[in-house]
């Protein structure tokens, strides 16, 4: 909160006489008497979340500030018609410039207003403004606010309350007491002045000062290279030139660490990479594509905004997963909201524009029950982060009409300062629209939202670590999206694509126009006229216009002959399109502001001038230790099963899933929740992208950072195996699965941290080739560390566990062959596919029972390939009634989930499960069989009439008959005569559903 007694300072021209003496009207909108107070209740619920608040009374309202010269009666009339629902709400209106009125509520005497900070996107105010004007009210400006009436508290308590749940000070300001406002206009006239930066004579220290002052995040070597470049040119750079170089060379835009030179060593020796990603992950894809030769179904990999693969003879599919971690840490709602908006634009900017058909969103948080005393200073509580992130994803995806069909949430205390938010999107596009070719003399056209000061320095900020004071210094990087703006240009963009109106399209993401135009014009050259860019408000400098990261903007390359048609098409749906420059065959990036040249950079230097980074990477394998077999032998399997089902990673995510529209567009075939009462955990989502074909798409993911604590190599192979087996479980063809990598790591300038990442990348290379599963795109987010000073004054650093998300996009020939994980019919047989080893290292049994050490699961690529192929054959032949992959919690958890999802019981005997490579005490064997997390395993349900066929098809694959589906509503696990587990499905389901069954 800014200042408990502060008033909003009108941005500018507070003293300026407005042309027609406009007034700011404050319209409070309250629930009618007797109806629920949603706004006040939300605060109470949030307070309960952050635990320990005493009984407290609060009432809430929403409202609008309307600046207009029209009389009060006209404003009141319009507000009544446009801004409220008269059946359930009522309004109060006052002149916000009048002296404060008397106390409004004597029982709740403290009044608090929360407003978005000036310049933060306020979609509701934008809609209200359009609607009020449409109604005939001449409105100058509109802003929204929330208002609270609170029982008397001390200023200190109030400050605490405001910070905790009334407002987020990275985007909002709090005003205690009545509003007193004469203007809500923002922006001021801009006086052009060309800024240059005195680089030429700067010494190393001065260079560093320039770097920090400008928040450029450049390295010393990069600064020296830039200095040398301009010395050779015999001039100083302008501010915008320096910014452009910093953006283009940022980690976020150039991936200089992972795509750079790395000297790596581990227990097997050492290896030097000149481009690590290219020589591991890209290389695997190259090898696989060569091996596939004429059957190569990859179309465009690691080059465009998303990877593209062939779907059928008419359409291709594009897939991309992005991270939006830093913004989500500071403002969870806005961060996740713009993360989703951004990855959708990636899809819209792939090839000549793909149509988004579904989303997948994966999060990593600290546990939502984290005790307050474990929360470092200036960090939002994980429960608040989770609620905000889910709401942000929900509101963008649902508004865009893109179903969110898949996801995962992983909890670990090490994410407390750096939550991870992965946003993915899948799109379809015609075969012949998969590549873009901007041409010399094409207009550079901006479409979509206007440009403001939003997110200035977002790109460079994303590459710098977070620290305790981030929420004060980096507010500019936090934004709110406006999904409707994006939906509006999506509609015309895809139409324009089909009419062939442009030669290229890309999105404005990190770095704004700087990145979008810079990349699109790399091979040609571009000239941009910055004063032409439509602005949200006056006063932006040419540099701010160029690097602004305002959301919902795209850049097109439009042949001059098509401009009129494109302009007309956009205008017909109220989408703004503006020529802002031209691609010119100069090989240079030239920026002008009102005919003055403000930047002139050689594309060659911009894209090829960055000094090569060479980093050291070293991996030391932690010493293997065995789990204490005494401890293991005494674990009660029934209790352990309930505990694992109830741990946050495994527990039902229905509270999240049901807030997402997962069926819009009508393509849903297998939903995220399946089973007899639509509440079992599906392994993957299946969609039918076109209604005239039975061909389907499968979306799944794999992630298990806990394994990385043992060996990142096996963490990576396990994640790949999990993503693929999730796809195969629902029926995907294992020969048509494409995968994405997302690496989120700590500070990779530490050799051991980078070493663990390289090791994971090597695993990706090896297993991708063995499984013939190509990576088609990826993304990394490094420096996920949080620094703070603890109560004792010591510097503390929390680094996230190295986290690799594998997202998989599978295909299925005929969706009518899909299989879900719920048991279908009592009397059917239960088989386990795959081998069980002593893999309890990093397992969820270890998590809930505090076991230390053990062996992390590994993947045998050749065996896994055979299992996937043959299981798929059985699935295609309709020999399987249910199939579920074994992951967190192993056999016991998978069995329980299948039983309660199917509203059936199960009776199995684990005696026949052979244990490979197990050196465990025989007393521990049953807990190993039940809870080991060995990879490449499934439970399948087989109708007895198909048993012989099933066994024949699975010939050569490890197969164990465990027992059968029962109708008793009880899950019974035995070893011979010994009963290991005996629990009702009701108990099991309750344990699984209750932890995250939030209100």
């Amino acid at each position: 909160m800014n200042n408990a007694s502060a008033e909003i300072v009108p941005q500018v021209d507070s003293g300026k006489k407005s042309a027609n003496a406009s007034v700011v009207w404050q319209v409070d909108i309250l629930p009618r008497a007797g109806l629920p107070d949603r706004i006040g209740s939300k605060i109470l619920s949030d307070l309960r979340d952050t635990n320990g608040e005493r009984a407290f009374r609060i009432a809430g309202a929403r409202g609008f500030l309307i600046q207009t010269a029209e009389p009060q009666a006209a404003v009141a009339h319009a507000a009544t018609k446009i801004l409220v629902d008269p059946v359930v709400e009522e309004i109060r209106i006052r002149n916000a410039g009048d002296p404060p009125s008397v106390v409004e509520r004597s029982d709740l005497p403290t009044v608090v207003h929360v407003l978005l900070k000036p310049g933060v996107t306020d979609p509701e105010a934008e809609s209200a403004q359009v609607s009020l004007r449409d109604f005939g009210l001449a409105v100058a400006a509109v802003r929204t606010f929330r208002k609270y009436w609170i029982q008397a508290t001390s200023p200190n308590d109030l400050r605490g309350l405001a910070k905790k749940c009334l407002a987020n000070d990275s985007i909002e300001q709090v005003i205690v007491g009545p509003l007193s406002l004469r203007s809500i206009d923002i922006g001021s006239d801009y006086q052009f002045r060309l800024e240059t930066v005195p680089l030429g004579s700067a010494d190393a220290q001065q260079l560093q000062q320039i770097n920090e002052r400008g928040q450029l995040s450049l390295s010393a070597a990069e600064l020296a290279t830039i200095q040398q470049h301009f010395r050779e040119l015999g001039r100083e750079p302008t501010d915008v030139e320096l910014e452009t170089i910093a953006q283009t060379w940022s980690e976020h835009c150039s991936h200089k660490t992972l795509a750079g030179a790395i000297d790596y060593s581990d227990e097997n020796g050492s290896r030097s990479f000149s481009n690590m990603l290219k020589e591991t992950i890209f290389a695997a894809t190259k090898t696989i594509r060569e091996q596939m030769a004429n059957d190569d179904w990859c179309v465009s990999v690691f080059r465009d905004n998303a990877g593209i693969v062939r779907f059928d003879s008419e359409i291709n599919v594009a897939f991309k997963v992005e991270t939006h971690n830093r913004p989500s840490a500071l403002e969870p709602y806005g961060g996740a909201n713009t993360g989703v908006g951004g990855v959708i634009r990636d899809i819209l900017g792939t090839g000549m524009g793909a149509k988004p058909i579904c989303g997948t969103d994966v999060f990593c948080f600290a546990p939502p029950n984290l005790p307050a005393e474990k929360l470092p200073p200036n960090v939002l509580h994980p429960r608040r982060i989770m609620k905000g992130v889910v709401a942000g994803v929900r509101d963008y995806g649902n508004r865009m009409g893109i179903p969110t069909v898949n996801g995962a949430i992983c909890f670990d205390e090490r994410y407390v300062g750096n939550p991870l938010v992965f946003c993915g999107s899948v799109g379809v596009l015609p075969l012949d629209k998969s590549f873009k070719h901007p041409q010399p003399n094409d207009w550079i056209v901006a479409i979509g939202g206007r440009t403001g000061r939003d997110g200035i320095h977002g790109a460079t900020f994303s590459s710098a670590e977070l620290h305790e004071t981030s929420d004060q210094t980096s507010g500019g990087a936090v934004q709110i999206g406006n999904a409707i703006t994006e939906k509006m240009f999506q509609d015309v963009l895809l139409h324009a694509r089909d009419e062939g109106l442009f030669n290229a399209v890309t999105d404005c993401g990190a770095g704004g126009f700087s990145s979008a135009v810079g990349e699109m014009g790399e091979e040609i050259g571009a000239e941009v006229w910055l004063e032409k860019v439509p602005l949200k408000y006056r006063g932006l400098s040419y540099t701010e216009i160029w690097i602004s990261e305002a959301q919902e903007r795209m850049v097109l390359a439009v042949p001059p002959t098509n401009w009129d048609r494109l302009r007309q098409l956009c205008a017909s749906e109220d989408v703004e399109a503006t020529i802002i420059g031209q691609f010119k065959p100069t090989g240079r990036l030239t920026l002008k502001y009102e005919s003055t040249e403000v930047a002139d950079l050689a594309m060659g230097f911009l894209h090829g001038g960055r000094p090569q980074v060479r980093r050291l990477a070293k991996f030391v394998l932690p010493k293997a230790t065995e789990i204490d077999s005494n401890e293991l032998a005494f674990i009660d399997p029934s209790q352990a099963l309930l505990d694992i089902l109830g741990c946050f990673n495994v527990a039902s995510k229905h509270w999240v899933i049901r807030q997402y529209d997962h069926e819009v567009q009508g393509a849903s075939v297998i939903k995220p929740l399946v089973g007899a009462t639509n509440d079992g955990p599906s392994d993957a989502a299946v969609l039918r992208p076109r209604f005239d074909s039975w061909r389907g798409l499968v979306v799944a993911c794999g992630l298990n950072p806990r394994y990385g604590d043992f060996d990142p190599y096996h963490m990576a192979t396990s994640a790949i195996d999990e993503a693929i087996r999730n796809c195969v479980a629902v029926g995907a063809n294992p020969n048509r699965i494409a995968i994405l990598d997302n690496f989120c790591w700590g500070r990779t300038d530490r050799p051991e941290t980078l070493g663990s990442l390289v090791r994971a990348a090597l695993a990706c290379h090896d297993l991708a080739i063995e499984l013939q599963t190509p990576f088609i795109s990826g993304k990394d987010s490094l420096h996920n560390e949080f620094k703070y000073t603890d109560a004792a004054g010591r510097q503390q650093i929390i680094s996230i566990p190295g986290t690799l998300l594998i997202s998989a996009l599978g295909q299925i020939d005929d969706i009518r062959r899909c299989v879900t994980m719920d048991f279908k019919r009592p009397g059917n047989l239960i088989y386990m596919v795959g081998e069980t080893g002593p893999h309890l290292g990093g397992s969820h049994l270890s998590l809930v029972c505090d076991l230390i050490g053990g062996h992390v699961p590994t993947v045998d690529g050749a065996k896994a390939r055979r299992v996937f192929q043959q299981l798929h054959r059985a699935s295609e032949a309709s020999l399987i009634r249910a199939c579920h992959d074994l992951s967190e919690g192993g056999l016991a958890v998978a069995l329980a989930e299948m039983a309660f999802a199917g509203d059936c019981g199960a009776l199995i005997d684990v005696r026949q499960i052979g244990l490979t490579n197990s050196s465990f005490d025989p007393n521990c064997s049953d807990n190993v069989r039940l809870f080991a997390e060995s990879n490449t395993r499934f439970i399948v349900e087989v109708d007895p009439v198909h048993e012989a066929n099933f066994i024949a098809v699975m010939n050569g694959v490890p197969l164990t008959r465990l027992g059968q589906v029962t109708d008793g509503g009880v899950v019974v696990v035995r070893n011979g005569k010994r009963e290991l587990i005996h629990l009702t499905t009701a108990e099991l389901k309750k344990a699984w559903q209750s932890p995250l069954d939030w209100n």
Binding site: D134, D574, C818
Partner: protein
């Protein structure tokens, strides 16, 4: 049988237009997806059509209140056009956000110009909720529900709670047969929790009288919160892998009824 022409109305934020048009086409209609600006440009455009469908989505972001901005736009610019269209014996259908819009224009009430006496407001649980619900047709007046006893369809909304200004209004609307579609408990579940209202999740939003859909006194204008267009094909059912593939989805009959009305 002459195929009726369906205008599926698009506006900023509409997002169920394609599948709604597809459902009408499956039912045998000709469809056109038309941006609201075209209706504003050309006052005669509607004359080519027999059915106007306002599909689901988030018109204008559902800012202010769901459907409100779009409803205000219709009231201000298109009200007479749409009244005439309806008066000429044509059909109006609003699905989800389209229902929110249609209700808030007044066009579903006996006197469309009177102050609104009912609304769709925030779900009792205060958030967006996507789930499947069982529905029962509760009016013989509604053209769209002819011959339909019950349907199993998904809802996906945040502001779907049907509420009237007072209980007298509710009784009157009920007496007029306007509370045309109700949430019910699935077979085997008790229909009430002892109080008059069906409990969550069967009534997913706390609607009065479990109202899921509402028609005007003629039965030719109808709005509903559930999405019939999301269950026209058998693989859209959440349990088809258990129960097998039925020939067509439950929602299709609603579109067929609209088409057959013009047969």
């Amino acid at each position: 049988m002459a195929k009726p022409n369906v205008l599926v109305l698009r506006a900023p934020g509409t997002n169920c237009d394609a599948e709604s048009a597809f459902a009408f086409e499956m039912a045998g209609a000709n469809t056109e997806r038309v941006h609201v600006n075209r209706l504003l440009d050309d006052g005669t455009l509607l004359q080519r059509f027999q059915i106007l469908c306002i599909p689901g989505g988030f018109s204008y972001g559902d800012d202010v209140a769901a459907g409100k901005v779009m409803a205000a736009k219709i009231q201000h610019h298109l009200f007479e056009q749409m009244r005439e269209f309806h008066a000429a014996g044509n059909l109006l259908l609003g699905i989800c956000n389209g229902f929110q819009v249609l209700l808030k224009t007044g066009l579903l009430f006996a006197d469309p110009t009177a102050e609104l006496s009912a609304t769709l407001t925030w779900n009792d649980n205060g958030r967006y909720e996507a789930r499947w619900v069982t529905l029962q047709a509760a009016s013989d007046r509604c053209i769209f529900l002819r011959g339909i006893k019950s349907m199993y369809l998904p809802v996906a909304h945040a502001e779907g709670k049907f509420m009237t200004r007072d209980s007298a209004t509710l009784r009157q609307l009920d007496a007029q047969g306007q509370l045309a579609l109700r949430y019910i408990a699935p077979a085997g579940e008790p229909q009430t929790n002892g109080e008059s209202n069906l409990p969550f999740p069967f009534n997913p939003n706390g609607s009065q009288e479990s109202v899921a859909g509402f028609c005007d006194p003629t039965g030719r204008a109808f709005g509903l919160m559930p999405h019939p267009e999301r269950f026209v094909q058998p693989t859209q059912h959440p349990r088809w892998t258990r129960d097998g593939l039925q020939p067509v989805g439950d929602g299709l009959q609603l579109f067929r009824n609209a088409v057959e009305f013009f047969a």
